[in-house]
């Protein structure tokens, strides 16, 4: 009798551990841990930027949380550096990169998903592989190329370089998006008397707006955040993009406490557009990723 009871208890314990609620709890816990790890640097930057300069490097954890909101560092960062100029440059580069990427990848992705032509599979593979090549490997060849074309230290050069990795990425997102549009709609368009261009314009384009928004937002964020190529290519102070400018300005000066605080403030300001963009386009971005995950 007692043996039986023990067995029952064990099995009920096991089944309790396996119950959906407990599973959900574990998963939530893991997810929260992951979020903590990922967001910690950002939270730290945000908190640091609001700290008062005097105790910036204090190791006392009580100083980690700002006692009062101190925007001195923000004010100093904006006053002393040319942050707005650099952000303007970044905006120019990112917007043009995004336009160029969409202009090229929207029709390219359509061709790769829908049209029949020789070498299509190879083109698809090359596109994906080109995205997989680490950018540091491309840095020197691209620099040499741009110097020869006299496009180094120019926004056009940087935009072209950014496009080398945004175009494969946006093409990849858009290919998956186009696959979700039924072929029948295109065929109906042809039957109704539309040419390929008019099918693209009247049918595919309006239906791809969510995909274009997702792809555009990604390419904007990629270009906005890009540091390595901007650092290598741009060498005049006035033409720096935001990440390079922040890096150049604050590393050129001594790393005293007030500089660190300003660096944090500048970092928050610079990452704000990405964060806002992501927040706004979140549903499209996640949908874009899910499509890739499920169907790609």
């Amino acid at each position: 009798m007692s043996a039986l009871t023990t067995k029952e208890t064990t099995s009920s314990t096991v089944s309790w551990l396996r119950s959906p609620q407990v599973k959900a709890m574990w998963l939530t816990l893991i997810a929260m841990l992951a979020i903590l790890v990922i967001t910690f640097p950002f939270v730290w930057i945000l908190l640091s930027s609001l700290r008062s300069v005097e105790n910036f490097l204090s190791l006392d954890l009580r100083d980690a949380l700002p006692r009062s909101l101190d925007f001195t560092s923000y004010r100093l960062a904006l006053q002393r550096s040319d942050l707005f100029l650099w952000m303007g440059n970044s905006l120019f580069v990112a917007v043009l990169t995004t336009c160029l990427s969409l202009l090229v990848s929207a029709p390219a992705a359509f061709a790769l998903t829908r049209l029949r032509f020789r070498g299509k599979d190879a083109a698809s593979i090359i596109l994906v592989l080109s995205y997989a090549v680490p950018s540091i490997m491309l840095a020197i060849p691209l620099l040499v190329l741009l110097v020869k074309m006299r496009l180094n230290n120019s926004f056009i050069g940087l935009i072209l370089v950014h496009a080398t990795f945004t175009i494969p990425f946006t093409s990849w997102i858009l290919q998956d998006f186009y696959r979700s549009i039924p072929t029948d709609l295109e065929e109906a368009g042809y039957i109704d008397g539309a040419s390929l261009v008019r099918v693209l314009w009247h049918i595919i384009l309006p239906l791809s707006i969510p995909g274009l928004l997702a792809a555009g937002a990604y390419s904007f964020i990629l270009s906005w955040n890009e540091f390595l190529f901007a650092l290598i290519l741009l060498n005049s102070y006035d033409s720096f993009t935001a990440p390079v400018g922040v890096h150049a300005y604050f590393t050129a000066r001594g790393a005293d406490e007030s500089m660190w605080a300003q660096l944090m403030a500048a970092s928050v300001i610079v990452s704000l557009p990405s964060v806002l963009l992501f927040a706004y386009f979140q549903r499209y971005l996640i949908a874009g990723f899910l499509k890739g995950a499920v169907k790609g």
């Binding site: 042809y190 008397g193 539309a194 239906l207």
Partner: protein, 365 residues
């Protein structure tokens, strides 16, 4: 209005071993309602898509009217195509959907709206012209798809299983409407379906296809009464035709069909068949052609009774184990386990070559 001619059309899809359509020759006269009928994968949709220009044949010639259309893109073939899932443009209103073909032809916005309204009125869509496809029911979407087809007055209408997504009631209604529409427009309709009821009710002419090959072309009556081979005989009719395989044997001045499961007198059979007892043949008869008579030659023990209201079918087995289906008077009182006798009238008998499956000419009574 135009006739359609397919001459020795073949098509194999890339990376497929078997051809989708094989040496198909089909002449569709102007103003006819032709149904391409067959199981899925028989090549009927491919044939339709080749007429529309959505696929190109590997060989053979397609003519619409007097014009050879091989290589002519779909937008210049003057066909209308109604898709199985309607393929309405989700970002356009009903009026814009119907008007799209006209817009592509460069009509003015006013003319487009006017024609769309007219077409909408014909199809009972007046109240829905400014709705989006997502806000419509299945039947309404179907009408919009039809509207988009008829608005431009094409030479040929092509339908790819357009009724298969509708519920039974609506499908019946739409069938009637389609027939009316075709009569009114006097246009050439080519309609693809795997549903034999649809085919029988809609068609002037049915083309039965299987494995990419045209099996039989004929009126619904011809297809039903005189199937040219076992495939057509088995595919058309529900419940399907009974088949009994055996040899014809002449004995005592009578001809018998002798199978392992049945021995059946076949009165006045074709003498040349009876002469060769080695030849394996298949006798087919439709469930509704057999008659229950006390003196019937075949004894059947009932295993299942299917009462459909207007019809009743009994499923049973002979003492040797041959399974048969017979249509009976729907008012008859029969029960599972009953034993009935049935006779197969000579004009209900169809003979097929067991090896090739081809028809051996109809039995003459």
């Amino acid at each position: 209005m135009a006739k359609i001619e397919l001459q020795n059309i073949s098509k194999t899809y890339p990376r497929e071993a078997k051809p989708a359509v094989q040496d198909l020759t089909l002449h569709i006269p102007d103003g006819q309602f032709v149904v391409l009928l067959g199981p899925s994968g028989c090549g009927k949709s491919t044939t339709l898509r080749m007429i529309a220009g959505l696929e190109e044949p590997d060989s053979g010639e397609i003519k619409i009217g007097e014009l050879r259309v091989n290589g002519v893109p779909p937008q210049r073939r003057d066909t209308a195509f109604v898709f199985q899932n309607y393929a309405l443009y989700p970002h356009m209103t009903v009026a814009q959907n119907i008007g799209f073909p006209l817009k592509m032809r460069g009509l003015s916005a006013q003319a487009i709206r006017q024609r769309a309204e007219e077409t909408g009125r014909v199809l009972g869509l007046e109240a829905l012209l400014d709705r989006y496809p997502g806000q419509l029911s299945g039947g309404e979407r179907q009408r919009v798809a039809l509207g988009r087809a008829i608005v431009r007055d094409p030479a040929v209408f092509l339908f790819d299983e357009p009724l298969s997504n509708l519920d039974a009631q609506l499908r019946g209604d739409m069938r009637v409407e389609l027939v009316h529409l075709q009569r009114r427009l006097r246009a050439t309709f080519v309609f693809v379906t795997h549903d034999q009821v649809e085919a029988m009710t809609l068609a002037d002419v049915i083309a039965v296809m299987s494995t990419g090959v045209l099996q039989q072309l004929g009126t619904p009556e011809q297809i039903y009464q005189q199937p040219v081979n076992l495939f057509v005989a088995g595919f058309i009719g529900s419940p399907r035709m009974n088949f009994i395989e055996g040899n014809l044997i002449a004995q005592d001045g009578m001809t018998f069909l002798k199978s392992d499961l049945l021995e059946l007198p076949v009165r006045k059979c074709l003498p040349d068949l009876a002469a060769n007892p080695q030849a394996r043949i298949i006798l087919g008869f439709r469930p509704e052609d057999a008659q229950l008579t006390p003196t019937g030659e075949v004894e059947l023990k009932l295993e299942l009774i299917e009462a459909l209201g207007s019809q009743k079918f009994i499923y049973g087995r002979t003492s040797q184990g041959q399974q048969l289906v017979v249509g009976v008077d729907p008012k008859s009182h029969l029960a599972v386990g009953d034993v009935v006798n049935l006779t197969i009238p000579p004009d209900g008998m169809h003979f097929f070559d067991a090896e090739t499956g081809t028809r051996l000419s109809r039995h003459q009574a």
